[in-house]
């Protein structure tokens, strides 16, 4: 067998590829990130805000872009595509065609001099053709890598031999018109496909009149909403006026077998809701209407988001899918005809703008790539995977993730991406670290005894800051502050080239402290700290002054006051940075084992994935058997028995020498922190582990008090599944009631799985007995994505579907179910039912609160565990070293639970794979000389980091034993409570010392900029 190669090729640099790349690179594998466009980022880079949190897409993405750019283990191959793949798992030769950019990336500084001189204008794909760019261009301001590219098709020199302006003006001699496409062979052990999707082009659906300038696709609308878009976030019509009424039309190019696109696109209901909300925030006068078939708000927090949009924000949701858009040829006005809710009538309404919620479609280039890789696709061009191996393609060693497999949103894409990384990592676990480069930093400058020499950059953030705050005035002011040696303005301080500028400035001006006045440290501090390190500065000699979130954005109408405030904010930061000390982390040995709590599919997958990478996994399951919920139902939605999935998995877990399984056991105590957790199990055994994964799943809600549950022949789906397997269903007419006990005040969330489950079971019933009559009563059918197939199949088999509303629920009594149908003029419709099956939601199991307390991790209002960041960290907790997976996070399907299980393992293993653990520099230390041993710190510390130890004090006169406080650096979290409590100021809360904070207070006070002298 050929040697294993500790490198992975990732095709597609969207959020999926980026996440896979970071996980693998952090785990010590070399990554080649191959992206066909000039910049990584994918569609997420084009989005404005993201649902359901309305985070700014670019703000959450750009730190990741920068992280990829500066990761020593990642090599980006932009403007490149895979031409061929040969070899086998562990050892592939991947031939990559690197398209000519005609700009030498090593020479171009993205100074943009060439842009001004290029005469050739081209529709800008980043802005979906709503604006123009030049033939030489940077795809978008935060592009990575940040170098120009020449669009050969439109360059006058390359097409006609004329012009040549860019070469003339480029001072760096970066232009090379003779550059040719070239092939490069890279050697890797595994390949991940993540080339994403293409938005559906609605042109063929002529009835929607996409050619009208005010009929837009949703992705064009995202660009309109975006501050970096064609109209700087001002939503406007083609004639420049502001629309007062906008309609979104859902399922354009989705759920339409007639055009060969039967699947649901899974994200468009939510993004339309988001777009409507954001647009209404821009303009409170705006009327936003969303025409839909079903509102598919199935993910975590989605239903609540939808309800908020509807009930609080006043977004109008109309359950009708207009079949076209009409244009008045005289006025050019747009209108749609729709069915009026709660009536049989239609209405015609005019709108200023119409947004087509277009679906996600596999891109042609993805299909081509899949063919090159030889992996199987489904009939629509999605990569074929199975429920139990959701990221595994038909070719060993080649994995897939993201929207290339099926339409999905960002969090599901990210989970997939970590999952695929886990799979690739497993193949190459033995090769970890063989091909990587240590992140190289220059030796750190010793600044002891130096006067502070402070550099300050004030960021425009494009126009985010500069449109409100007078940035040049702030720069001028900052220059007058004590110790400030150099201050300057920057359009985007966080762009890769700006980071290089910071490094240069530090060197050039011999700076020993640095302040960036820009945005929130919560997202950008690590980036700039790393930059400082790159310039030989200790990262703690850096300070962020937040003049965006805390100033420009919240004082948009008071530019003068905002400018004053910005000056003061920077002044306070300068005062602080002057007093900051270099801090050092400690390298600690730690445990390379992982703990997994919960032995369902998510937990078992996580344990297996950890074990595959050569680490020990402890799997703790409180029941006496592994398997979790999968033991409660009998078939999967693809028709196979659940045992076909669960039995081999249990077998694999039980036989894996790296996994210690504890059934009938719980975890009762935990202490310590990432790297060195100690736990006590209910059997008395003590275990040590470096990281933990919570995969405690969910239970089917017992719908007591709903729809006659408890009376004869009213059961839940899980009972039906058992009866189906036992062949004990004896009914002629079955009624299923969806959302039984869900999507209400007590459980305001959608349980995601029960619509699919109902379809699955209805199909089973029909296939067993075609004469059976089935009515499914629903509020929305949420068979999202590819599961729409099941809904289609159920209708093919003749299942009846009738809608009810939350305010007019069906009534179950004496063997009948009665509901009202507006099309039947609300005449009571009485179904004589032999069996009523309630689709009740998944709920969090008992005991989650205990686990939450043990690990100090949060749970949400619905008792599901709350991840660190809903979009980009779906399986992380804010607490280091603790992860979550599966239904513990929110209800989800088996494939999704498994994907998260792998994802959590990937995240955990990127820690376990390290040789040692680094502590944070931010923590508390005790000055023994001042400590009087009062022990108050031990009382307030939530982690028991300080302990009183006996020390022998030797003075000239006497020697005595006394007690002094000592703080364990591995445990201390740096909250500073002890320092605030200590009566003698013996405790220093590093990076937040009394001195530093006092200096900031003083700087607040002294408008003249007086800064306290450094001691």
């Amino acid at each position: 067998m050929a040697d294993l190669i500790g490198a992975v090729a990732i095709a597609g640099g969207g959020i999926a590829g980026i996440q896979s790349a970071l996980d693998l690179a952090d785990s010590g594998l070399k990554v080649y990130l191959i992206e066909s466009k000039p910049s990584i980022g994918g569609v997420m880079a084009q989005l404005d805000k993201t649902f359901p949190t309305l985070d700014c897409s670019m703000c959450t993405l750009s730190p990741k872009l920068a992280e990829v750019a500066r990761h020593p283990n990642i090599e980006i191959l932009p403007y490149s595509e895979i031409k061929s793949i040969s070899g086998a798992a562990g050892n592939f030769d991947v031939t990559v065609t690197r398209k000519a950019t005609y700009v030498d990336p090593d020479k171009c500084t993205a100074c943009e001099l060439c842009l001004a001189k290029c005469p050739s204008k081209v529709l800008d794909e980043y802005n979906e053709g709503l604006t123009k760019r030049k033939a030489i261009y940077l795809p978008f301001p935060q592009a990575v890598p940040r170098v120009m590219v020449i669009d050969a098709e439109h360059c006058l020199y390359l097409t006609k031999g004329k012009c040549g302006n860019c070469k003339k003006v480029c001072e760096n001699d970066a232009i090379d018109y003779d550059m040719k496409d070239r092939d490069e062979v890279i050697k890797v052990g595994s390949v991940i496909l993540s080339t994403g999707f293409e938005p559906y082009d609605p042109t063929p659906l002529e009835q929607y009149h996409y050619e009208h300038p005010d009929v837009l696709t949703s992705i064009e609308f995202e660009r309109l909403l975006s501050a970096s878009g064609p109209s700087e976030g001002h939503v406007q019509l083609a004639d420049g006026t502001t629309p007062k009424k906008i309609a979104w039309l859902q399922c354009i190019g989705s759920r339409n077998p007639e055009i060969g696109r039967p699947n649901c696109s899974a994200v468009c209901c939510m993004y339309a809701t988001k777009e409507a909300m954001v647009a209404m925030e821009h303009d409170p006068e705006l009327e936003a209407t969303i025409f839909n078939i079903d509102v598919r708000a199935f993910g975590k927090g989605f239903e609540q988001f939808y309800q908020r949009a509807k009930n609080e924000k006043g977004v109008r949701f109309i359950r009708s899918r207009p079949s076209g858009v009409d244009i008045d040829p005289i006025t050019n006005r747009l209108s749609v005809q729709y069915e009026v809710e709660e009536s049989v009538e239609t209405a015609i309404e005019e709108f200023d703008m119409i947004v087509l919620s277009i679906g996600l479609t596999p891109s042609e280039s993805s299909k081509k790539l899949a063919e090159i890789a030889g992996v199987e696709m489904d009939e629509y061009g999605n990569i074929a995977t199975s429920i139990e191996k959701p990221m595994t393609t038909s070719v060993p060693g080649i994995f897939a993730c993201g929207t290339m497999i099926a339409p999905k949103d960002i969090p599901d894409t990210v989970a997939d991406a970590s999952g695929a990384a886990s799979k690739a990592h497993s193949v190459l676990a033995s090769e970890r670290g063989t091909l990587v480069t240590e992140r190289a930093y220059p030796p750190e400058k010793d600044i002891t005894g130096e006067e502070p020499r402070i550099g300050v950059v004030v960021c425009d953030c494009g126009i985010n800051i500069a449109s409100v705050v007078d940035v040049p005035a702030v720069v001028e002011y900052v220059k007058t502050l004590p110790h400030v040696v150099h201050a300057y303005e920057q359009t985007y301080a966080c762009s890769t080239d700006s980071l290089d500028v910071i490094k240069e400035k530090i060197k050039e001006h011999n700076l020993n402290r640095f302040v960036v006045a820009s945005c929130t440290p919560r997202t950008h501090e690590p980036l700039f700290q790393d930059t400082c390190r790159g310039a030989g500065l200790n990262p703690y000699l850096f300070e962020l002054a937040n003049i965006r979130e805390h100033c420009a954005w919240v004082h948009q109408k008071e530019p003068e006051k905002a400018t004053e405030k910005a000056k003061e904010i920077v002044r306070m930061s300068v005062a602080r940075v002057a007093l900051l000390d270099p801090l050092y982390t400690q390298k600690l040995d730690f445990s390379h084992s992982g703990l997994v709590i919960g032995g369902g599919v998510a937990g078992m997958t996580a344990a297996l994935d950890i074990a595959e990478k050569g680490f020990t996994a402890y799997l703790v399951e409180r029941e006496h058997e592994l398997g979790g919920l999968l033991r409660k139902f009998t078939r999967l939605q693809d028709g196979r028995k659940t045992s076909e999935v669960i039995d081999p998995m249990i077998e694999a877990v039980m036989s894996n020498p790296n996994i210690a399984v504890y059934t009938g056991t719980t975890l009762d105590e935990v202490e310590g922190a990432m790297g060195s957790f100690k736990g006590k199990l209910s059997n008395g055994e003590e275990i040590e582990f470096g990281s933990a994964i919570i995969a405690t799943g969910a239970n089917e809600f017992v719908p007591e008090g709903y729809f006659g549950y408890g009376s004869d022949n009213v059961i839940t789906q899980s009972t039906l599944e058992t009866m189906l397997e036992e062949g004990t269903v004896d009914a002629k007419t079955v009624v299923m009631i969806q959302c039984a006990g869900g999507r209400n005040e007590e459980r305001p969330y959608c349980s995601r799985v029960c619509c699919t489950t109902a379809m699955k079971n209805a199909i089973r019933l029909k296939e067993a007995d075609p004469n059976i009559t089935i009515y499914i009563l629903y509020r929305d059918i949420r068979t999202f994505g590819i599961w729409e197939d099941l809904y289609t199949r159920a209708r093919e088999l003749g299942v009846f579907f009738m809608r009810y509303t939350e305010t007019d629920e069906p009534v179950v009594a004496n063997g009948t179910v009665t509901l009202h149908d507006k099309l039947l003029h609300n005449t009571p419709f009485e179904i004589a039912a032999d069996l009523v099956v309630l689709s009740s939601p998944l709920v969090a199991p008992d005991g989650v609160e205990d686990l939450a307390t043990l690990f100090k991790v949060p749970i949400d209002a619905d008792r599901f565990f709350l991840e660190a960041h809903i979009k980009l960290r779906p399986v992380d907790f804010a607490t280091d070293g603790v992860f979550l997976a599966g239904c513990a996070q929110a209800p989800k399907l088996v494939n999704e639970s498994i994907s998260q299980g792998s994802a959590a393992a990937s995240r955990a293993c990127s820690i376990l794979a390290k040789d040692f653990l680094e502590t944070s520099g931010v923590m508390a230390v005790v000055d023994e000389d001042v400590c009087i041993g009062c022990g108050r710190c031990t009382e307030v510390c939530a982690y028991s980091a300080p302990t009183l130890k006996e020390v022998e004090v030797v003075t000239e006169e006497i020697t005595y034993i006394t007690r002094k406080s000592e703080i364990n650096p591995a445990i201390c979290k740096g909250c500073g409570s002890c320092a605030a409590e200590c009566p003698t100021s013996a405790i220093t809360s590093r990076h937040f010392t009394t001195e530093q904070i006092s200096a900031v207070i003083d700087a607040f006070a002294y408008a003249d900029g007086r800064v306290r002298e450094v001691a």
């Binding site: 009835q207 399922c251 759920r255 339409n256 077998p257 007639e258 055009i259 078939i293 359950r319 009708s320 899918r321 207009p322 079949s323 076209g324 749609v336 005809q337 729709y338 069915e339 049989v344 009538e345 239609t346 015609i348 007419t733 009559t773 059918i781 809904y791 289609t792 209708r795 093919e796 003749g798 009846f800 579907f801 809608r803 009665t818 149908d821 099309l823 039947l824 005449t827 009571p828 419709f829 009485e830 179904i831 004589a832």
Partner: protein
Amino acid sequence: MSDTDMKVIKTSDLDLAFREEIMKEHGAEKLSMCFNCTGCTAGCTMAEHEPNYNIRQLLRMANLGMREELLNHPYLWNCTTCYKCQERCPQGVHNVDILLKIRTMAVHSGIMLDKHRKVAQLMANTGHAVPINDDNKEKRKKLGMGELPETVHKYPDALEEVHKIVRITGFDKLTEAQS
């Protein structure tokens, strides 16, 4: 309170085989595929002018097996068969083909509008749904054309063929005036 207010639709009274009967018709196979997007109604020109007319409602009743109600539905004959709905249905439900099938089922159950019966009889008798009249004979002459067109109007043998066909198919009986 009137009777209609009290009405309840009971599944036990419905004809569950009705849908299958319709779906056997060529073109009507996808009746059950309707997923109630409303697209057919929301686009129907007739619905714009006759608010009580809703093609989706008719399909729904067909699906649910409401045979009697549907065949007697006051708006069953409102569709102009413009095919807009059928062309735009994402599920490939052939609304018009289905409706035409339902209408034949109505006629075969003896449910027919008087005005339609008259046209049917005209056609059965003269071979033309809109036969010639004196006024138009005049016009034809004025245009220099034969008084009668070269159709069954002019060829009694041909008309006899038509008569024979309607007798064989039973169309004459089917559309006979009801007592």
